[in-house]
């Protein structure tokens, strides 16, 4: 479980991310294949990326809370070149990157790629759900189309 992973080890598990004290819970969640968004204990609003206080009410008491990972594609681009990453071959196919608006709250979005889906189907408005793949030996959250959509 991720609680056993100390801060130094957490940084080593995600060499491609700049993790800090505000985002450490978020990435510890990845190790357990859980997408944890900061939720305010006072006003119950989510925010992302993780901030030290709730931007809606300034409450500093925040609970990393698992979200469903279900949502709708809000932004969609296709990278024909970009930073190297395992499993990403820009020459083979343009790499999709999408910002997904999650069902928990209007305007709450998470950005990743989409797998298991032909390129033509990846478009704004497509309902998707969360899945997990492996990157550098650690879990990495991705989206895939909701079955039957």
């Amino acid at each position: 479980m991720s609680e056993d992973v100390d801060d130094a080890a957490l940084i080593e598990r995600f060499p491609y991310v700049r993790i800090d004290h505000d985002s450490k819970h978020f990435y510890r969640g990845w190790l357990d294949e859980r997408l944890l968004f900061n939720r305010c204990d006072a006003c119950e609003r989510f925010h992302h990326p993780p901030k030290p206080v709730c931007p809606s009410c300034w409450c500093a008491s925040l609970t990393p809370t698992e979200v469903s990972g279900r949502g709708v594609i809000h932004l969609a681009m296709f990278l024909h070149q970009g930073p190297p990453a395992p499993g990403v071959d820009y020459a083979m196919a343009a790499h999709p990157v999408v910002a997904v608006e999650l069902e928990e709250q209007e305007g709450l979005r998470f950005t990743s790629t989409v797998i298991g889906c032909p390129r033509e189907a990846i478009r704004i408005g497509l309902p998707v759900e969360l899945g997990w793949v492996e990157r550098f030996g650690a879990p990495f959250p991705v989206f895939r189309p909701v079955e039957g959509s």
Partner: protein, 389 residues
Amino acid sequence: MARNPIRDEIAIVGLGSTGFYRDSGGRSAKALACDASIRAIRDAGFEPGDIDGIVGAAEPGGPNPNEMSAALGLPQVTHFSSPMPVAVFALVDAMNAIFSGSCSTVLLYFAYTRLPWNSRSAAEDPFRRHHTLGVMPAPESVNAAAAYAAWASRYIHEYDARREDFGRVALNARAGAARNPLAVMKTPLSMEGYLQARMIREPLCLLDMDIPVDGADAFVLTRTECAREKTRNPVVVHAATTGLVGTNDEDQLPSLRRHGQHVVVESLRAKSDLWLEDMDIFFPYDGFSIITLGWIENFGWCPPGGAGRFLEEHWDPEAGCVMIDGRIPLNPHGGSLSEGATRGSGHIREAVMQLRGDAGERQVAGARNALIGCGGFFFNSQGAILRRL
């Protein structure tokens, strides 16, 4: 009318530019910045001892103000700072420093170098390879530059925009660059050529992105009262502002209809005696073509989603560029897309050249007022109105 006590109080009295290159050879960013700065100080008719403020945008690889002050042998300065890019942050800082009395005359410089991660030839320069990104980011991000391609997808989705709408921004820029000796990209560009360009971050292609260059711009600013001792009609900053909304993380932006550009437009409008009908030249920033479409719409030249049609309707086929109502050009110097990625300093420099009447074959006859919308949607939206008194 909003409070704007600095209105017309600060003048831009010196200009210097190295021009822009794909490869300036063995010149460092500091060498380029010194070159532009010396030109600007001489253009203003000042000596090193007249400069008591130095402000330089914190561009990656660029020199700090203290290094520049040492290189130029400025005897002493009482205000120095390095605001983040893009250009109006530094302009506003310089203006405020003079207006408040922190100093009386500012050297404002911007130095750009191609970096190893955005230029293949720069990556072959061992000195430039010293720059590193630190953590190599994952591709699955819509932060920084990628944000514009991501939101361009939304723009196309919401407004049914066509690639030609973006293409006209690129064509307009290239036509301007052909008339600008400082510009890097002068080869003629057709719509066909635009449509065939390589996709980079689809829906945006290579020609939707500004072009990395080596080069520098510099300006000298002082109080309008002092400027009047040398010229009766100095170019002054009528209003300037920056703008930010609370939710400005790139993928969390509320919508295309509420972001930094909207704050800038509301703020400028409230501070200014001049508005669209008074303008002779319009400078909508073009670090990415989608930003230009945004500025055109958000300043109110046309309704949201209408910029593509607007560019088509105001296209001058003979000149191969935009002429709003047959008289107001857009980024006549070629903008960041074709003059070079100056992050707005090119737009300000061209505005001053035009208002002085020094823009050569690009000159807008009798130009008095220029509107600048600088920066993008998220954390660097800004604007300024310059005028000739």
